[in-house]
Protein backbone atom coordinates (compact mmCIF):
# COMPACT_ATOMS: atom_id res chain seq x y z
CA UNK A 1 0.00 0.00 0.00
CA UNK A 2 1.35 3.42 -0.87
CA UNK A 3 1.93 5.98 1.80
CA UNK A 4 -0.03 9.23 1.69
CA UNK A 5 1.34 10.84 4.83
CA UNK A 6 4.66 10.09 6.45
CA UNK A 7 5.71 11.98 9.57
CA UNK A 8 9.17 11.30 10.97
CA UNK A 9 10.14 12.64 14.39
CA UNK A 10 8.26 15.91 13.95
CA UNK A 11 9.00 18.60 16.50
CA UNK A 12 7.68 22.14 16.68
CA UNK A 13 8.90 24.66 19.24
CA UNK A 14 6.88 27.67 20.35
CA UNK A 15 8.71 30.47 22.11
CA UNK A 16 6.83 31.66 25.14
CA UNK A 17 6.85 35.23 23.91
CA UNK A 18 5.18 34.05 20.73
CA UNK A 19 6.40 36.86 18.62
CA UNK A 20 8.66 39.82 19.05
CA UNK A 21 6.46 42.35 17.42
CA UNK A 22 8.00 45.40 18.97
CA UNK A 23 11.28 46.88 17.89
CA UNK A 24 12.29 47.54 21.47
CA UNK A 25 11.92 43.88 22.43
CA UNK A 26 13.67 42.79 19.29
CA UNK A 27 16.68 44.95 20.05
CA UNK A 28 16.67 43.88 23.68
CA UNK A 29 16.80 40.21 22.70
CA UNK A 30 19.47 40.85 20.10
CA UNK A 31 21.68 42.80 22.48
CA UNK A 32 21.37 40.40 25.38
CA UNK A 33 21.75 37.43 23.01
CA UNK A 34 19.04 35.66 24.94
CA UNK A 35 16.40 33.49 23.31
CA UNK A 36 12.96 33.48 24.86
CA UNK A 37 12.25 30.24 26.66
CA UNK A 38 10.09 27.85 24.71
CA UNK A 39 8.25 24.55 24.80
CA UNK A 40 7.56 21.77 22.36
CA UNK A 41 4.10 22.13 20.82
CA UNK A 42 4.91 18.85 19.08
CA UNK A 43 7.61 16.56 20.34
CA UNK A 44 9.00 13.70 18.27
CA UNK A 45 5.83 12.67 16.46
CA UNK A 46 6.03 9.83 13.94
CA UNK A 47 3.29 8.01 12.05
CA UNK A 48 2.34 6.92 8.55
CA UNK A 49 -1.02 6.87 6.82
CA UNK A 50 -1.47 4.77 3.68
CA UNK A 51 -3.94 5.14 0.85
CA UNK A 52 -7.46 4.25 1.95
CA UNK A 53 -6.79 5.08 5.60
CA UNK A 54 -7.93 8.16 7.50
CA UNK A 55 -6.72 9.73 10.69
CA UNK A 56 -8.50 11.19 13.71
CA UNK A 57 -6.45 13.51 15.92
CA UNK A 58 -7.49 13.38 19.57
CA UNK A 59 -6.37 15.28 22.63
CA UNK A 60 -7.23 17.97 25.13
CA UNK A 61 -6.95 21.70 24.44
CA UNK A 62 -3.35 22.69 23.82
CA UNK A 63 -2.27 19.15 23.04
CA UNK A 64 -0.92 20.20 19.64
CA UNK A 65 -3.75 19.08 17.36
CA UNK A 66 -4.02 22.27 15.34
CA UNK A 67 -0.25 22.58 15.19
CA UNK A 68 -0.08 19.09 13.71
CA UNK A 69 -2.64 20.04 11.06
CA UNK A 70 -0.70 23.21 10.23
CA UNK A 71 2.45 21.14 9.72
CA UNK A 72 0.57 18.64 7.54
CA UNK A 73 -0.82 21.50 5.47
CA UNK A 74 2.65 22.92 4.94
CA UNK A 75 1.65 26.14 6.71
CA UNK A 76 4.18 25.65 9.48
CA UNK A 77 7.68 24.30 9.02
CA UNK A 78 8.69 21.84 11.75
CA UNK A 79 11.83 22.65 13.75
CA UNK A 80 12.95 19.07 13.48
CA UNK A 81 11.86 15.98 11.63
CA UNK A 82 10.38 15.41 8.23
CA UNK A 83 6.91 15.39 6.77
CA UNK A 84 5.93 14.01 3.38
CA UNK A 85 2.39 14.42 2.08
CA UNK A 86 1.55 12.90 -1.29
CA UNK A 87 -1.05 14.89 -3.23
CA UNK A 88 -2.96 18.13 -3.06
CA UNK A 89 -3.85 19.27 0.44
CA UNK A 90 -7.19 20.94 1.18
CA UNK A 91 -7.91 22.61 4.49
CA UNK A 92 -11.23 22.90 6.26
CA UNK A 93 -9.97 24.98 9.14
CA UNK A 94 -11.65 28.13 10.37
CA UNK A 95 -14.37 28.16 7.74
CA UNK A 96 -14.89 31.25 5.63
CA UNK A 97 -11.35 32.71 5.67
CA UNK A 98 -11.57 35.65 3.31
CA UNK A 99 -15.34 36.05 3.43
CA UNK A 100 -16.49 39.65 3.36
CA UNK A 101 -19.90 40.77 4.65
CA UNK A 102 -20.43 43.38 1.92
CA UNK A 103 -19.97 40.93 -0.94
CA UNK A 104 -22.90 38.88 -2.19
CA UNK A 105 -23.24 35.14 -1.67
CA UNK A 106 -22.05 34.48 -5.22
CA UNK A 107 -19.05 36.78 -4.92
CA UNK A 108 -18.02 35.17 -1.65
CA UNK A 109 -18.47 31.73 -3.13
CA UNK A 110 -16.09 32.50 -6.01
CA UNK A 111 -13.58 34.23 -3.76
CA UNK A 112 -13.50 31.43 -1.19
CA UNK A 113 -13.33 28.74 -3.86
CA UNK A 114 -10.35 30.55 -5.40
CA UNK A 115 -8.63 30.86 -2.03
CA UNK A 116 -9.15 27.15 -1.38
CA UNK A 117 -7.42 26.32 -4.65
CA UNK A 118 -10.23 25.67 -7.13
CA UNK A 119 -9.80 26.74 -10.75
CA UNK A 120 -12.18 28.95 -12.74
CA UNK A 121 -13.52 25.94 -14.62
CA UNK A 122 -14.17 23.95 -11.47
CA UNK A 123 -16.10 26.83 -9.98
CA UNK A 124 -18.16 27.24 -13.12
CA UNK A 125 -19.06 23.56 -13.13
CA UNK A 126 -19.70 23.19 -9.43
CA UNK A 127 -21.29 26.51 -8.43
CA UNK A 128 -24.88 25.26 -8.72
CA UNK A 129 -24.02 22.07 -6.86
CA UNK A 130 -22.41 24.07 -4.06
CA UNK A 131 -25.46 26.30 -3.67
CA UNK A 132 -27.76 23.29 -3.67
CA UNK A 133 -25.62 21.63 -1.04
CA UNK A 134 -25.70 24.73 1.15
CA UNK A 135 -29.47 25.00 0.58
CA UNK A 136 -29.11 28.69 -0.21
CA UNK A 137 -31.00 28.96 -3.51
CA UNK A 138 -32.58 32.38 -3.77
CA UNK A 139 -30.24 34.04 -1.27
CA UNK A 140 -27.05 34.18 -3.28
CA UNK A 141 -27.55 37.65 -4.73
CA UNK A 142 -27.84 39.17 -1.26
CA UNK A 143 -24.83 40.53 0.63
CA UNK A 144 -23.41 38.10 3.15
CA UNK A 145 -24.21 40.38 6.09
CA UNK A 146 -27.91 39.62 5.57
CA UNK A 147 -27.21 35.88 6.05
CA UNK A 148 -27.66 34.24 9.44
CA UNK A 149 -24.46 32.85 10.94
CA UNK A 150 -25.71 29.34 10.23
CA UNK A 151 -26.19 30.21 6.57
CA UNK A 152 -22.67 31.67 6.36
CA UNK A 153 -21.19 28.48 7.79
CA UNK A 154 -23.26 26.34 5.43
CA UNK A 155 -21.96 28.30 2.44
CA UNK A 156 -18.38 28.03 3.68
CA UNK A 157 -18.66 24.33 4.32
CA UNK A 158 -20.33 23.67 0.98
CA UNK A 159 -17.52 25.44 -0.89
CA UNK A 160 -14.85 23.73 1.20
CA UNK A 161 -16.09 20.19 0.62
CA UNK A 162 -16.33 20.81 -3.11
CA UNK A 163 -12.79 22.15 -3.32
CA UNK A 164 -11.63 18.63 -2.66
CA UNK A 165 -8.01 17.59 -2.44
CA UNK A 166 -6.24 14.27 -2.08
CA UNK A 167 -5.63 14.95 1.59
CA UNK A 168 -8.32 16.85 3.49
CA UNK A 169 -7.49 18.42 6.85
CA UNK A 170 -10.49 19.16 9.03
CA UNK A 171 -10.25 21.15 12.25
CA UNK A 172 -13.23 20.86 14.58
CA UNK A 173 -15.74 22.06 12.06
CA UNK A 174 -18.03 19.07 11.86
CA UNK A 175 -20.52 20.82 14.10
CA UNK A 176 -21.92 23.04 11.35
CA UNK A 177 -25.60 23.91 11.21
CA UNK A 178 -28.52 21.80 12.41
CA UNK A 179 -28.55 18.03 12.80
CA UNK A 180 -29.84 17.46 9.26
CA UNK A 181 -27.09 19.54 7.72
CA UNK A 182 -24.45 17.86 9.89
CA UNK A 183 -25.59 14.50 8.60
CA UNK A 184 -25.28 15.78 5.06
CA UNK A 185 -21.75 17.08 5.68
CA UNK A 186 -20.81 13.80 7.16
CA UNK A 187 -22.23 11.89 4.18
CA UNK A 188 -20.28 14.14 1.82
CA UNK A 189 -17.01 13.52 3.70
CA UNK A 190 -17.64 9.77 3.71
CA UNK A 191 -18.27 9.96 -0.03
CA UNK A 192 -15.01 11.83 -0.58
CA UNK A 193 -13.19 9.21 1.41
CA UNK A 194 -14.68 6.47 -0.72
CA UNK A 195 -13.47 8.31 -3.80
CA UNK A 196 -9.94 7.97 -2.46
CA UNK A 197 -9.38 11.09 -0.39
CA UNK A 198 -7.47 10.81 2.88
CA UNK A 199 -9.12 12.62 5.79
CA UNK A 200 -7.36 13.97 8.85
CA UNK A 201 -9.96 15.09 11.41
CA UNK A 202 -9.45 17.00 14.62
CA UNK A 203 -12.64 16.34 16.53
CA UNK A 204 -14.27 14.88 19.58
CA UNK A 205 -14.78 11.17 19.88
CA UNK A 206 -18.13 10.36 18.29
CA UNK A 207 -19.93 7.75 16.26
CA UNK A 208 -19.58 10.02 13.23
CA UNK A 209 -15.83 10.22 13.61
CA UNK A 210 -15.57 6.46 13.87
CA UNK A 211 -17.18 5.94 10.48
CA UNK A 212 -14.84 8.51 8.91
CA UNK A 213 -11.49 7.48 10.39
CA UNK A 214 -9.67 4.16 10.36
CA UNK A 215 -6.80 5.35 12.54
CA UNK A 216 -6.30 7.73 15.41
CA UNK A 217 -3.45 9.53 17.10
CA UNK A 218 -3.76 10.76 20.66
CA UNK A 219 -1.69 13.81 21.52
CA UNK A 220 -0.89 14.88 25.05
CA UNK A 221 1.10 18.10 25.61
CA UNK A 222 2.75 17.68 22.25
CA UNK A 223 3.65 14.02 22.62
CA UNK A 224 2.00 11.11 20.87
CA UNK A 225 0.57 8.80 23.55
CA UNK A 226 -0.95 6.29 21.17
CA UNK A 227 -1.17 5.79 17.45
CA UNK A 228 -3.03 2.93 15.84
CA UNK A 229 -6.43 1.62 14.76
CA UNK A 230 -9.24 4.00 15.72
CA UNK A 231 -10.96 1.69 18.25
CA UNK A 232 -7.78 0.90 20.18
CA UNK A 233 -6.72 4.49 20.55
CA UNK A 234 -10.15 5.86 21.43
CA UNK A 235 -10.84 3.25 24.08
CA UNK A 236 -7.54 4.09 25.79
CA UNK A 237 -8.26 7.79 25.34
CA UNK A 238 -11.80 7.67 26.81
CA UNK A 239 -10.61 5.52 29.67
CA UNK A 240 -7.99 8.14 30.41
CA UNK A 241 -10.39 11.05 30.07
CA UNK A 242 -12.98 9.40 32.32
CA UNK A 243 -10.30 8.74 34.88
CA UNK A 244 -10.86 4.98 34.83
CA UNK A 245 -7.30 4.25 33.79
CA UNK A 246 -5.36 5.36 36.87
CA UNK A 247 -2.20 3.76 35.60
CA UNK A 248 -2.01 5.92 32.49
CA UNK A 249 -3.21 8.94 34.43
CA UNK A 250 -0.14 8.72 36.63
CA UNK A 251 2.23 7.89 33.81
CA UNK A 252 1.46 10.88 31.57
CA UNK A 253 3.31 14.14 32.21
CA UNK A 254 1.21 17.20 32.99
CA UNK A 255 3.17 19.76 30.98
CA UNK A 256 4.86 20.04 27.59
CA UNK A 257 8.58 19.42 27.14
CA UNK A 258 10.54 22.64 27.76
CA UNK A 259 13.45 23.69 25.65
CA UNK A 260 16.67 23.95 27.56
CA UNK A 261 17.34 27.68 27.44
Amino acid sequence: MSEVIRAEHLSVVYRSRGSRKLLRQYLQDRLTGRLAEGFYALHDISFTISRGESLAVLGANGAGKSTLLAVLAGLLEPDAGRIVVDGRVATLMELGSGFHPDLTGWENLRLYAAILGMSRGEVRNQAEKIVDFAELQGYMDQPLRTFSSGMVLRLAFAVAVHAAGDVILIDEILAVGDAAFQKKCHRRLAEMRQQGATLVCVSHVSGMLETLCSHAIWLHHGRAVRFGPYRDVTSAYTAFMNGTDRHLWDALPDSPVRTSA
Partner: protein, 253 residues
Protein backbone atom coordinates in the same frame (compact mmCIF):
# COMPACT_ATOMS: atom_id res chain seq x y z
CA UNK B 1 -1.29 25.18 -5.29
CA UNK B 2 -1.76 24.66 -9.00
CA UNK B 3 -0.83 27.13 -11.72
CA UNK B 4 -4.36 27.39 -13.12
CA UNK B 5 -5.51 28.66 -9.76
CA UNK B 6 -2.96 31.47 -9.31
CA UNK B 7 -4.47 33.99 -11.72
CA UNK B 8 -7.94 33.13 -10.47
CA UNK B 9 -7.10 33.85 -6.80
CA UNK B 10 -5.28 37.01 -7.80
CA UNK B 11 -8.24 38.26 -9.85
CA UNK B 12 -10.78 37.39 -7.15
CA UNK B 13 -8.77 39.09 -4.40
CA UNK B 14 -8.33 42.24 -6.47
CA UNK B 15 -12.03 42.29 -7.33
CA UNK B 16 -12.82 41.90 -3.65
CA UNK B 17 -10.71 44.96 -2.79
CA UNK B 18 -12.36 46.97 -5.51
CA UNK B 19 -15.92 45.94 -4.66
CA UNK B 20 -15.50 46.41 -0.94
CA UNK B 21 -14.00 49.86 -1.44
CA UNK B 22 -16.78 51.21 -3.63
CA UNK B 23 -19.90 49.22 -2.91
CA UNK B 24 -21.21 51.32 -0.07
CA UNK B 25 -20.28 54.74 -1.43
CA UNK B 26 -22.84 56.73 -3.30
CA UNK B 27 -20.14 58.59 -5.23
CA UNK B 28 -18.30 55.35 -6.00
CA UNK B 29 -15.30 55.61 -8.30
CA UNK B 30 -15.59 59.40 -8.27
CA UNK B 31 -13.75 59.36 -4.94
CA UNK B 32 -10.68 58.14 -6.78
CA UNK B 33 -10.69 61.40 -8.72
CA UNK B 34 -11.66 63.79 -5.98
CA UNK B 35 -8.44 63.55 -3.99
CA UNK B 36 -5.99 64.31 -6.83
CA UNK B 37 -8.34 67.01 -8.16
CA UNK B 38 -8.42 68.82 -4.82
CA UNK B 39 -4.67 68.58 -4.38
CA UNK B 40 -4.17 69.76 -7.94
CA UNK B 41 -6.39 72.79 -7.33
CA UNK B 42 -4.63 73.74 -4.12
CA UNK B 43 -1.10 73.28 -5.44
CA UNK B 44 -2.00 75.19 -8.60
CA UNK B 45 -3.36 78.07 -6.55
CA UNK B 46 -0.34 78.20 -4.24
CA UNK B 47 2.30 77.86 -6.95
CA UNK B 48 0.79 80.02 -9.66
CA UNK B 49 -0.85 82.74 -7.55
CA UNK B 50 1.30 82.83 -4.40
CA UNK B 51 4.71 81.74 -5.73
CA UNK B 52 4.18 82.48 -9.43
CA UNK B 53 5.83 79.43 -10.93
CA UNK B 54 6.54 79.62 -14.67
CA UNK B 55 5.98 75.93 -15.43
CA UNK B 56 3.50 75.75 -18.34
CA UNK B 57 0.20 73.84 -18.01
CA UNK B 58 0.71 73.83 -14.27
CA UNK B 59 -2.39 71.76 -13.28
CA UNK B 60 -1.40 69.02 -15.71
CA UNK B 61 2.19 69.21 -14.49
CA UNK B 62 1.05 68.74 -10.90
CA UNK B 63 -1.14 65.75 -11.80
CA UNK B 64 1.74 64.07 -13.64
CA UNK B 65 3.64 64.10 -10.36
CA UNK B 66 0.85 63.72 -7.87
CA UNK B 67 -0.81 60.66 -9.36
CA UNK B 68 2.34 58.50 -9.51
CA UNK B 69 3.31 59.71 -6.04
CA UNK B 70 -0.12 58.86 -4.60
CA UNK B 71 -0.05 55.51 -6.31
CA UNK B 72 3.33 54.71 -4.83
CA UNK B 73 2.52 55.75 -1.25
CA UNK B 74 -0.86 54.01 -1.17
CA UNK B 75 0.50 50.79 -2.66
CA UNK B 76 3.41 50.76 -0.28
CA UNK B 77 1.33 51.31 2.87
CA UNK B 78 -1.48 48.88 1.96
CA UNK B 79 1.07 46.38 0.68
CA UNK B 80 3.10 46.59 3.88
CA UNK B 81 0.16 45.60 6.08
CA UNK B 82 -1.30 43.10 3.59
CA UNK B 83 0.21 40.00 5.22
CA UNK B 84 -0.21 41.00 8.86
CA UNK B 85 -3.86 41.94 8.34
CA UNK B 86 -4.80 38.60 6.80
CA UNK B 87 -3.73 35.92 9.29
CA UNK B 88 -6.46 33.45 8.20
CA UNK B 89 -5.15 33.49 4.64
CA UNK B 90 -1.64 32.76 5.90
CA UNK B 91 -2.40 30.30 8.70
CA UNK B 92 -5.48 28.44 7.54
CA UNK B 93 -5.30 27.88 3.81
CA UNK B 94 -2.42 26.70 1.65
CA UNK B 95 -2.33 29.88 -0.45
CA UNK B 96 0.76 31.64 -1.82
CA UNK B 97 1.40 34.38 0.73
CA UNK B 98 3.45 36.32 -1.83
CA UNK B 99 0.17 37.06 -3.59
CA UNK B 100 -1.08 39.32 -0.79
CA UNK B 101 1.25 42.31 -1.35
CA UNK B 102 0.80 41.82 -5.10
CA UNK B 103 -2.97 42.12 -4.66
CA UNK B 104 -2.51 45.44 -2.82
CA UNK B 105 -0.25 46.83 -5.52
CA UNK B 106 -2.47 45.68 -8.37
CA UNK B 107 -5.72 46.90 -6.88
CA UNK B 108 -4.11 50.30 -6.45
CA UNK B 109 -3.13 50.03 -10.11
CA UNK B 110 -6.84 49.88 -10.94
CA UNK B 111 -7.34 53.23 -9.21
CA UNK B 112 -4.27 54.54 -10.94
CA UNK B 113 -5.78 53.72 -14.33
CA UNK B 114 -8.92 55.67 -13.40
CA UNK B 115 -6.79 58.62 -12.34
CA UNK B 116 -4.67 58.47 -15.48
CA UNK B 117 -7.87 59.07 -17.45
CA UNK B 118 -7.96 62.42 -15.69
CA UNK B 119 -4.47 63.19 -16.97
CA UNK B 120 -5.51 62.34 -20.53
CA UNK B 121 -8.62 64.48 -20.20
CA UNK B 122 -6.37 67.42 -19.30
CA UNK B 123 -4.00 66.62 -22.19
CA UNK B 124 -6.94 66.87 -24.58
CA UNK B 125 -8.24 70.00 -22.84
CA UNK B 126 -4.91 71.78 -23.38
CA UNK B 127 -4.79 70.48 -26.95
CA UNK B 128 -1.41 68.79 -26.41
CA UNK B 129 -0.37 66.23 -29.03
CA UNK B 130 -0.56 62.51 -28.27
CA UNK B 131 2.59 61.04 -29.81
CA UNK B 132 4.15 57.63 -30.41
CA UNK B 133 6.25 58.27 -27.33
CA UNK B 134 3.19 57.37 -25.28
CA UNK B 135 4.19 53.77 -25.91
CA UNK B 136 6.91 54.38 -23.33
CA UNK B 137 4.29 54.75 -20.61
CA UNK B 138 3.51 51.01 -20.24
CA UNK B 139 7.26 50.30 -20.12
CA UNK B 140 7.88 52.92 -17.42
CA UNK B 141 4.94 51.77 -15.38
CA UNK B 142 5.86 48.09 -15.62
CA UNK B 143 9.31 48.89 -14.25
CA UNK B 144 7.72 50.87 -11.43
CA UNK B 145 5.35 48.00 -10.59
CA UNK B 146 8.32 45.67 -10.40
CA UNK B 147 10.06 48.06 -8.04
CA UNK B 148 7.01 48.49 -5.79
CA UNK B 149 6.26 44.78 -5.66
CA UNK B 150 9.83 44.05 -4.60
CA UNK B 151 9.70 46.80 -2.00
CA UNK B 152 6.35 45.66 -0.53
CA UNK B 153 7.43 42.01 -0.49
CA UNK B 154 10.27 43.03 1.81
CA UNK B 155 8.34 45.55 3.93
CA UNK B 156 5.28 43.30 4.38
CA UNK B 157 7.37 40.36 5.58
CA UNK B 158 9.36 42.60 7.93
CA UNK B 159 6.11 44.07 9.22
CA UNK B 160 4.94 40.63 10.33
CA UNK B 161 7.99 40.35 12.57
CA UNK B 162 8.35 43.95 13.66
CA UNK B 163 5.14 45.97 13.75
CA UNK B 164 6.94 49.31 13.60
CA UNK B 165 7.64 48.98 9.91
CA UNK B 166 4.33 50.55 8.99
CA UNK B 167 5.24 53.80 10.73
CA UNK B 168 8.62 53.90 9.09
CA UNK B 169 6.87 53.52 5.74
CA UNK B 170 4.47 56.34 6.51
CA UNK B 171 7.27 58.68 7.59
CA UNK B 172 9.33 57.91 4.50
CA UNK B 173 6.29 58.66 2.36
CA UNK B 174 5.96 62.09 3.96
CA UNK B 175 9.60 62.92 3.28
CA UNK B 176 9.36 61.56 -0.22
CA UNK B 177 6.77 64.17 -1.21
CA UNK B 178 9.56 66.74 -1.23
CA UNK B 179 11.99 64.55 -3.15
CA UNK B 180 9.72 64.08 -6.14
CA UNK B 181 9.25 66.85 -8.74
CA UNK B 182 5.55 67.40 -8.11
CA UNK B 183 5.23 71.14 -7.59
CA UNK B 184 8.73 72.25 -8.64
CA UNK B 185 10.57 71.25 -11.79
CA UNK B 186 13.60 69.02 -12.17
CA UNK B 187 15.41 71.93 -13.84
CA UNK B 188 15.38 73.75 -10.49
CA UNK B 189 17.36 70.94 -8.82
CA UNK B 190 21.07 71.93 -8.70
CA UNK B 191 23.10 70.16 -11.35
CA UNK B 192 25.38 68.30 -8.92
CA UNK B 193 22.42 66.54 -7.23
CA UNK B 194 20.56 65.60 -10.40
CA UNK B 195 22.16 62.26 -11.25
CA UNK B 196 21.68 61.09 -7.66
CA UNK B 197 18.12 62.43 -7.58
CA UNK B 198 17.26 60.26 -10.58
CA UNK B 199 18.00 57.11 -8.59
CA UNK B 200 14.86 57.70 -6.58
CA UNK B 201 12.51 55.42 -8.53
CA UNK B 202 9.43 57.50 -7.71
CA UNK B 203 11.14 60.66 -8.97
CA UNK B 204 12.36 58.75 -12.02
CA UNK B 205 8.82 57.58 -12.71
CA UNK B 206 7.48 61.13 -12.50
CA UNK B 207 10.31 62.49 -14.66
CA UNK B 208 9.79 59.85 -17.33
CA UNK B 209 6.02 60.48 -17.32
CA UNK B 210 6.61 64.23 -17.68
CA UNK B 211 8.98 63.66 -20.59
CA UNK B 212 6.36 61.67 -22.45
CA UNK B 213 3.23 63.67 -21.67
CA UNK B 214 4.51 67.25 -21.41
CA UNK B 215 7.74 67.03 -23.40
CA UNK B 216 6.42 64.83 -26.24
CA UNK B 217 9.68 62.91 -26.32
CA UNK B 218 11.13 59.62 -25.07
CA UNK B 219 12.56 59.56 -21.58
CA UNK B 220 16.39 59.92 -21.52
CA UNK B 221 18.28 56.68 -21.81
CA UNK B 222 20.29 57.21 -18.63
CA UNK B 223 17.07 57.65 -16.65
CA UNK B 224 15.59 54.45 -18.06
CA UNK B 225 18.74 52.51 -17.21
CA UNK B 226 18.63 53.76 -13.64
CA UNK B 227 14.98 52.76 -13.34
CA UNK B 228 15.68 49.31 -14.73
CA UNK B 229 18.62 48.68 -12.42
CA UNK B 230 16.86 49.98 -9.30
CA UNK B 231 13.68 47.98 -10.07
CA UNK B 232 15.61 44.79 -10.68
CA UNK B 233 17.64 45.22 -7.49
CA UNK B 234 14.54 45.87 -5.38
CA UNK B 235 12.67 42.92 -6.87
CA UNK B 236 15.63 40.67 -6.11
CA UNK B 237 16.04 42.00 -2.59
CA UNK B 238 12.30 41.79 -1.91
CA UNK B 239 12.10 38.17 -3.02
CA UNK B 240 15.18 37.33 -0.96
CA UNK B 241 13.81 38.92 2.23
CA UNK B 242 10.37 37.37 1.71
CA UNK B 243 11.64 33.84 1.24
CA UNK B 244 14.00 34.17 4.18
CA UNK B 245 11.24 35.30 6.55
CA UNK B 246 8.27 33.37 5.15
CA UNK B 247 8.81 30.32 7.36
CA UNK B 248 8.34 32.47 10.45
CA UNK B 249 4.98 33.99 9.49
CA UNK B 250 2.87 31.26 11.12
CA UNK B 251 4.39 31.83 14.53
CA UNK B 252 4.27 35.60 14.39
CA UNK B 253 0.68 36.03 13.23
Amino acid sequence: MRRSNLSFVLAELILKDFRVRYRNMSLGVFWSLLNPLTMMAILTFVFTKVFESRIPHYPLYVLCGLIPYNFFTLSWVTGTVSISENPPLVKRVPMQTALLPLVSVLSNTLHLCIQLLLVFALVLWYGLPVTWHYLWLPVIWSLELLFIYGLTLASSSLHVLIRDVRYVVESVNLVLFWLVPIFYSFAMVPQKYRSLYEFNPVAALVLATQHVILGHRSPPQALMWKMTVVSAVFMGLGAFVFFRLKRRFYRYL
